[in-house]
């Protein structure tokens, strides 16, 4: 059974079905979307549980000739680098679809774009042919543009076009890099054309190490860096996050940002190992800036959502730190960090949505004493914040610890890595500070009388948020569920990179 194709295109089929829904049947559209995303999630978990963790080989491979005269094939597969994201994406999408039941206007279009987005995101994580990869990569842009631009907040138009232009800029430069890689693959009697096959390209090493590789690495890096986002390409992120509707923020933080780090791992690391080693130190420094700068800016925010958006910049910094280390611990940590950040920040954005739907403000200073009024909400929010700041026993701690210890023991350049890893620890402290300050201002102290009638969470909100909290606790206690999945692939990647462990 071509299960990856099924997972990828099931949401698209759902989107097309929705198009034929009669006018005014908004509930039908909502339920169709919920069912479709649920089925996709079930398939995702099925793949997750049947995935063989003991090998670095590709699994669930599907391959067919597609455009032979251009060396393009329909090539999908999974390994440890992509497995975690493949299960996280449908999972978050389902929760976000359930949360989106509160969308009231232009429901049909909303879910159409939402499902289209899901197809694009899943496709990015399973495609192993550059052409296919790029198509999915770009398909995520269009629905996102509309989801922010139509259903967003007050400055939605600005945020939407900024997101679109920024990410398109990154991806067209990336396209040049892809073409350079394509043209670098040799033409032989067996292969009469160049190839877009990512796995094949990682075996060929068509580009000579040195300047050529660096230029191509830089072109690809720009595309990924804008997506992650890495400082100084991050300015679209706060705008997009603040204006996007809640469920879209969750997807944006939970999945879209990871496309950048995944791309780096899957493409830059495997195809351009020499350049990766060459740029390990610059990546480390950028990771450090992301961590510390992101944390400081997050602390300065008055808007709750903006604060969480900047905390994403900060947390993706941890992920980059682990990746820069080029060691097994660091890379496994980075992959786990992708998952835990998706879970925790996803939950945080949902929680911000919950309070915004009630109070219609996100001003941290404007709340106070909510603990007495919404005890359950406050409990969940505080727990998630603690998870985000890396409290041991919760998911965030494990992955951040791995990233830090990986970077600290990195053999690429021990002195520089030790210095910057040490400095990055400051980020953890600042992160703790801004979360605790926020908790204090919003939940502690006397109740602001303006909010005396706030109701606690509804069933819809529980359905969206509780699974994330459960997973956060579970991964905190038993991280091996997720981290074990990438071990073999990371081992072979590290062997490819040729760094001493």
């Amino acid at each position: 059974m071509p299960i990856l194709t099924l997972i990828t295109f099931l949401p698209l089929v759902g989107a097309i079905v929705i198009l034929f829904a009669p006018k005014g049947k908004d509930n039908l559209v909502r339920w169709v979307s919920a069912v479709v995303t649920f089925l996709t999630m079930v398939l995702g978990f099925y793949v997750f549980f049947t995935f063989n963790r003991g090998t670095a080989d590709l699994q669930f491979v599907e391959r067919a000739a597609w455009i032979p005269s251009f060396g393009i094939s329909y090539f999908m597969g999974l390994d440890g680098l992509s497995m975690a994201m493949l299960v996280l994406t449908p999972f978050l999408s389902f929760l976000a679809a359930v949360y989106s039941f509160n969308i009231k206007e232009r429901v049909k279009e909303y879910f159409f774009f939402f499902l289209l987005l899901e197809t694009g995101m899943i496709g990015v994580f399973v495609a192993l042919d550059f052409f296919l990869f790029y198509i999915f990569w770009e398909i995520t842009l269009v629905p996102m543009y509309f989801l922010i631009g139509i259903w967003g907040g007050p400055r939605k138009e600005y945020a939407a076009i900024k997101f679109f232009l920024y990410t398109l800029f990154g991806s067209v430069v990336m396209l040049l890099g892809i073409l350079a890689l394509y043209l670098s693959s040799p033409i032989t009697a067996a292969n009469p054309t160049h190839t877009f096959d990512i796995i094949e390209l990682s075996k060929i090493h068509g580009l000579t190490p040195g300047f050529q590789q660096y230029i191509v690495y830089a072109a690809l890096f720009l595309g990924f860096a804008i997506k992650v986002p890495i400082f100084p390409f991050h300015t679209w992120l706060p705008d997009a996050h603040v204006e996007a509707p809640t469920a879209v923020s969750v997807i944006l933080a939970g999945v879209l940002l990871k496309m950048g780090t995944y791309g780096l791992l899957r493409i830059s690391y495997t195809i351009l190992p020499e350049a990766t080693k060459y740029f390990a130190i610059p990546l480390l420094i950028l990771a450090f800036i992301n961590i510390v700068y992101g944390a400081f800016v997050a602390m300065a925010q008055k808007d709750l959502k903006k604060m969480i958006a900047y905390s994403s910049v900060n947390h993706m910094g941890y992920c980059l730190l682990g990746m820069a280390a080029l060691s097994t611990v660091g890379l496994n940590g980075a992959i786990l960090q992708m998952v835990t950040h998706g879970i925790i920040t996803g939950a945080l954005f949902f929680l911000v949505g919950v309070i915004y739907d009630r109070a219609h403000t996100r001003d941290i200073e404007g709340f106070g004493g909510l603990m007495t009024k919404m005890p359950v909400y406050a409990g969940i929010m505080i727990l998630t914040c603690l998870g985000s700041l890396g409290l041991p026993g919760l998911a965030g701690f494990v992955s951040e610890f791995m990233c830090f210890s990986g970077a600290f023991s990195s053999t690429v350049n021990p002195v520089v890595f030790k210095i910057f890893t040490g400095l990055s620890v400051a980020g953890l402290v600042i992160t703790a500070a801004y979360f605790l300050i926020m908790i204090q201002k919003v939940f502690m102290g006397p109740l602001n009388p303006k909010w005396k009638d706030l109701p606690d969470m509804t069933v819809r909100e529980y359905i969206a948020i509780v699974p994330l909290i459960v997973l956060m606790l579970l991964l905190g206690v038993m991280p091996l569920i997720a981290s074990g999945i990438s071990v073999e692939s990371v081992n072979s990647l590290v062997a490819l990179l040729g760094v001493k462990i």
């Binding site: 279009e109 269009v142 139509i150 232009l165 398109l168």
Partner: protein, 490 residues
């Protein structure tokens, strides 16, 4: 003696069956104009459209031709010419279908209008097969003069007249420059047919004066395809012309121009080392100017005119690369451009019929009343911007690939930066359709059947060219391989 010439002539006429048929169609249209009463004049458009469909079927046979010269080497029938004839005929069919619903066109003028369209189509078909400088000049002039009239067809509209005059003056000037350049080449080689010029070049090599002549001729071509800095006429002519003529001008006339440009250069220039820098700079300037100026346009026809200029820049980028992949990318890009632009113009007409305005700010609220059609329009805009999974993306991918393969990395970089600029102004249209607060369009858009056919068949094609391009690629490869021979350095 007397028997020899007519046999050759007959063979030529037989090979040019599609052209002969279109010529007959022109007479038929004129006859129909005389016979039909004013009320049913719109029928003439249908007659011509069906005639073109038949001509299209006849032309399909051209795709399998190996390439044979007729009329003393003045015309070649090969799959390259066939490819462009098909593009021209498809756009002519679409254009006539659009004209049916174009309100400013008066009923009693339909016959005249249609016969001009049929004749100009004939001219462009001859252009794509011309293999002699004289034949080339005659067909180009034939097309230009007919288009002057078509652009100025709305006699009561000042803008239409203005566009026609500008087009005419610049056109006449550039024709003179073209002939001047051609005279260099004829003077040096003593021949006007490409075959004889090629023989001369093989024997004697390329002299600097020959290159100068070619560059001067390039000005003439540049005018036809609206290459910057020879593009000044385009926005005014596009804005003033009846919208179907604008669509026709932007697709068919440009494709025919690209065809003669590619054919001439490939036929008489073994490698483009001497002119490639000029071509590359022209391509870069053309894209950049086209896109930058398009940002500020509010009239959809002017916007598409400038975007069309930018697209010529992309086509030129493929042409600069000059190799197999380069010329292939030109073909695929032109094919993508045909369906993308025709779809976009069909929407412009549909919305104009609804609102009476070509201003994109008047598109506000379209997505609320017709969400489905708005999204389809958006897909066309994505194709213009080169975002997957559309034909525009595939064309752009090929063009960029060709440029990088030929080591024009700087040109490719300018190309991708331009596509970001381009996205901005296409997204501006989407902005008004989707996000604008004050609503201008309050009733759903109703498409007539011809517009429906144009839009959905174009949509199908632009998705098909990106998702299932194999057959088009094979066709393009076969076509280009026939053009390239031992004469070429690559």
């Amino acid at each position: 003696m007397t028997g020899v010439i007519p046999v050759e002539m007959l063979q030529g006429l037989l090979a040019l069956t599609p052209e002969v048929f279109v010529l007959c169609l022109a007479f038929l249209v004129i006859a129909a104009d005389i016979l039909l009463p004013v009320k049913s004049k719109r029928l003439i458009l249908d007659i011509a459209a069906f005639g073109f469909v038949f001509a299209l079927i006849l032309t399909l046979g051209n795709l399998r031709q190996q390439g044979a010269y007729y009329f003393y080497n003045a015309i070649i029938v090969d799959s390259f010419a066939g490819f462009f004839k098909i593009i021209i005929l498809v756009s002519a069919i679409f254009m006539l279908m659009m004209s049916r619903d174009y309100k400013p066109l008066e009923d009693n003028k339909i016959g005249e209008y249609t016969s001009l369209v049929v004749l100009v189509t004939l001219g462009m078909m001859l252009m794509s097969g011309a293999s002699d400088l004289l034949m080339l000049f005659l067909s180009v002039e034939f097309v230009s003069i007919t288009f002057f009239v078509l652009v100025g067809f709305l006699r009561k509209d000042m803008k239409s007249g203005e566009g026609a005059v500008k087009y005419f003056l610049l056109g006449a000037f550039s024709s003179a420059v073209f002939v001047y350049g051609a005279s260099f080449i004829v003077g040096i080689t003593g021949a006007s047919s490409f075959l004889s010029i090629q023989k001369y070049i093989i024997a004697n090599g390329v002299s600097p004066l020959f290159i100068i002549g070619l560059i001067i001729m390039l000005v003439g071509f540049g005018f036809k395809i609206a290459l910057v800095p020879f593009h000044m006429w385009a926005p005014d002519a596009y804005e003033g012309a009846p919208t179907p003529v604008t669509a026709f001008l932007s697709v068919a006339s440009k494709s025919a121009g690209v065809a003669v440009l590619v054919r001439t250069f490939l036929a008489i220039l073994p490698e483009n080392a001497n002119v490639n820098l000029i071509l590359a700079v022209l391509a870069a300037i053309t894209m950049t100017v086209g896109n930058l100026v398009a940002i500020t346009q509010n009239n959809v026809k002017r916007l598409l005119a400038y975007s069309g200029i930018a697209h010529v820049g992309y086509i030129m980028m493929g042409f600069v690369a000059y190799g197999l992949l380069g010329v292939e990318s030109v073909l695929i890009y032109t094919l993508a451009y045909l369906f993308t632009n025709m779809g976009a113009f069909a929407f412009a007409i549909a919305i104009y019929n609804k609102t009476g305005s070509d201003d994109i700010r008047d598109y506000a609220g379209l997505s609320v009343v017709s969400p489905g059609l708005s999204f389809v329009f958006f897909v066309f805009l994505l194709s213009l911007a080169g975002v997957p999974p559309t034909a525009g993306f595939f064309g752009k991918l090929m063009v960029l690939g060709a440029a990088i393969e030929a080591h024009y990395v700087w040109l490719a970089v300018i190309g991708v930066l331009n596509s970001v600029i381009a996205l901005y102004f296409y997204a501006r249209i989407a902005y008004y359709m989707y996000f604008a607060k004050e609503i201008k369009i309050t009733e759903p858009l109703k498409l007539s059947r011809p517009l429906n056919i144009i839009i959905y068949s174009s949509l199908f094609m632009i998705l098909c060219i990106c998702i299932l391009p194999e057959q088009f690629l094979l066709l393009a490869t076969r076509t280009v391989k026939l053009l390239i021979g031992s004469f070429h350095a690559f």
